[in-house]
């Protein structure tokens, strides 16, 4: 169901009339999905925020994380968002080759991000962080950290898969501008969630 919308096979062959919202139904459904997903992450972060401000000894972020490393992760994801936006523009212009290249570049950025996140998890687990305990303070930290960054990471992982499918379809001309744009919307949303995760865990 989702894959039809994402690959944009339908969109390439017959774009529907813009309705009340001024977009095709495919794009509107992607937006509805994004709003739902945003509320899901919002709930996670709200629970995290509550636990954090009510905890007596929340772990000190400077003790646990290497901010320089996380900044590189953030740059990677922001850059992949920019290449994705460029892929969408290229696809609209009818430049299939550029659409393919920039979508692939975006997927590489996503994979690099996942690799760095795996390293960060390894580092924290190695230092004793678990879902139910950690050496730095309130035990709830581990559950929130691994659940929220893990949930975001799984979004990145499925995003990479969608990007590869989109790149392949764009190259063969099966995925038109709107198909690439729908993938783009999802990818930018994943970047957007990271802005919040990055801010709430590593900066505040």
């Amino acid at each position: 169901m989702n894959s039809t919308a994402v690959t944009g096979h339908e969109a390439a062959t017959h774009e529907s009339e813009p309705g009340f919202y001024g977009t095709s139904w495919q794009k509107l459904m992607m937006w509805w999905f994004i709003i739902g997903d945003a509320i899901l992450f919002g709930s996670f972060l709200a629970a995290y925020g509550f636990s954090r401000i009510s905890a007596v000894n929340w772990p000190d972020r400077t003790q646990m994380f290497s901010l320089n490393f996380i900044t590189v992760m953030t740059f990677t994801l922001i850059t992949s968002s920019a290449t994705m936006a460029t892929a969408v523009a290229a696809s609209r212009r009818g430049d299939r080759k550029a659409a393919f290249n920039f979508t692939m570049a975006t997927a590489v950025g996503g994979l690099a991000f996942l690799g760095m996140q795996a390293y960060e998890w390894y580092h924290l687990i190695h230092n004793g962080a678990r879902m139910d305990t950690n050496p730095w303070g309130a035990p709830a930290f581990g559950a929130y950290f691994f659940a929220i960054t893990g949930f975001h990471g799984s979004h990145v992982a499925s995003g990479v898969l969608i990007l590869l499918i989109t790149a392949w379809n764009a190259k063969r001309g099966k995925s038109g501008p709107e198909g690439v744009e729908l993938t783009g919307l999802y990818w930018h949303f994943v970047d957007l969630v990271w802005v919040f995760v990055f801010g709430c865990f590593y900066l505040i």
Binding site: W31, G36, I39, G42, T74, S81, A85, R93, I204
Partner: protein
């Protein structure tokens, strides 16, 4: 809309990389300034840049923009309604 389409695409290439540069600089500024109010402002500003430019919300109809904003506000509201029980003031 299709008449201005080509010009719009040309302009958008540049605007995406300008948005990219702004996001990178904003990230660096946020790392060096750790006031809570400033960080929250920075997060919201980055969201607006990603939503408006990358996700093309600024080209969409007001009804779609407000539907999205309402969803995000609701997520924030979830935190606001429960945070009083934590016994700590927010800012």
């Amino acid at each position: 809309m299709s008449d201005t389409h080509a010009a719009h695409v040309e302009a958008s290439y540049r605007s995406y990389w300008i948005a990219w540069a702004i996001l990178l600089v904003l990230t660096l500024v946020m790392i060096s300034i750790s006031t809570k109010a400033f960080l929250i402002g920075g997060i919201l500003l980055k969201s607006v840049i990603i939503g408006a430019w990358f996700m093309h919300l600024k080209h969409e109809r007001a009804i779609l923009i407000w539907s999205v904003v309402a969803g995000i506000l609701f997520a924030g509201f979830l935190f606001l309604v429960i945070h009083f029980d934590a016994g700590t003031s927010l800012l």
